[in-house]
Amino acid sequence: GAGVSQSPRYKVAKRGQDVALRCDPISGHVSLFWYQQALGQGPEFLTYFQNEAQLDKSGLPSDRFFAERPEGSVSTLKIQRTQQEDSAVYLCASSFYSGGHDEQFFGPGTRLTVL
């Protein structure tokens, strides 16, 4: 497809379960970002990849959050032992160049609900 895609669109997890969220960036885009959006707030940065290298993970809220992009294309955000405070929309964005100087394009997001 032409845009950023994410799956699943909705995920319900019981507290303590592990979840994996997938992002397919726009083909050829070097930069990939993950953001977390709480209800009624703007998205907040989680982590950044330049190709397969994770250059910034300063926004990950705890060591239960882990992200990878092994081949420099598709990325997976994994949350272990989910907690209720993890409930949010997780957004993926990509841009053509490295460093974020250019326009970022967002996927539709995955809405995670932890019961």
């Binding site: 930069s31 929309v89 460093g99 974020g100 100087h101 326009e103 967002f106 539709p108």
Partner: protein, 112 residues
């Protein structure tokens, strides 16, 4: 860190009215984007505008980087313009790998 403030937080318009949304930021930036988040949560790119003025149909935007603000103009509003409008910036110096910093948004409701 850099602060991004959007105003007004809420805006109710009658269909056909015009509006101006404002974004103030506290530090030098080299990337500024305006987004429309529709009721389904999709962030739609409106403008990539680190400086200058752009127009796209009924929408236009102006960024005055030296004075650290950007404006989004919506003319002849339609009910489909409803949603949340976000301004997002990237800092102009080291420490940032390019991530955008978002304001809290302006929630726009256009009534028929």
């Amino acid at each position: 860190g850099i602060q991004v403030e959007q105003s007004p937080p809420d805006l109710i318009l009658q269909e056909g009215a015009n509006s101006t949304l404002r974004c103030n930021f506290s530090d030098s930036v080299n990337n500024l984007q305006w987004f429309h988040q529709n009721p389904w949560g999709q962030l739609i790119n409106l403008f990539y505008i680190p400086s200058g003025t752009k127009q796209n149909g009924r929408l236009s935007a102006t960024t005055v980087a030296t004075e650290r603000y950007s404006l989004l103009y919506i003319s002849s509003s339609q009910t489909t313009d409803s949603g949340v409008y976000f301004c997002a910036v990237r800092m102009n110096y080291g420490g940032s790998q390019g991530n955008l910093i978002f304001g809290k948004g302006t929630k726009l409701s256009v009534k028929p």
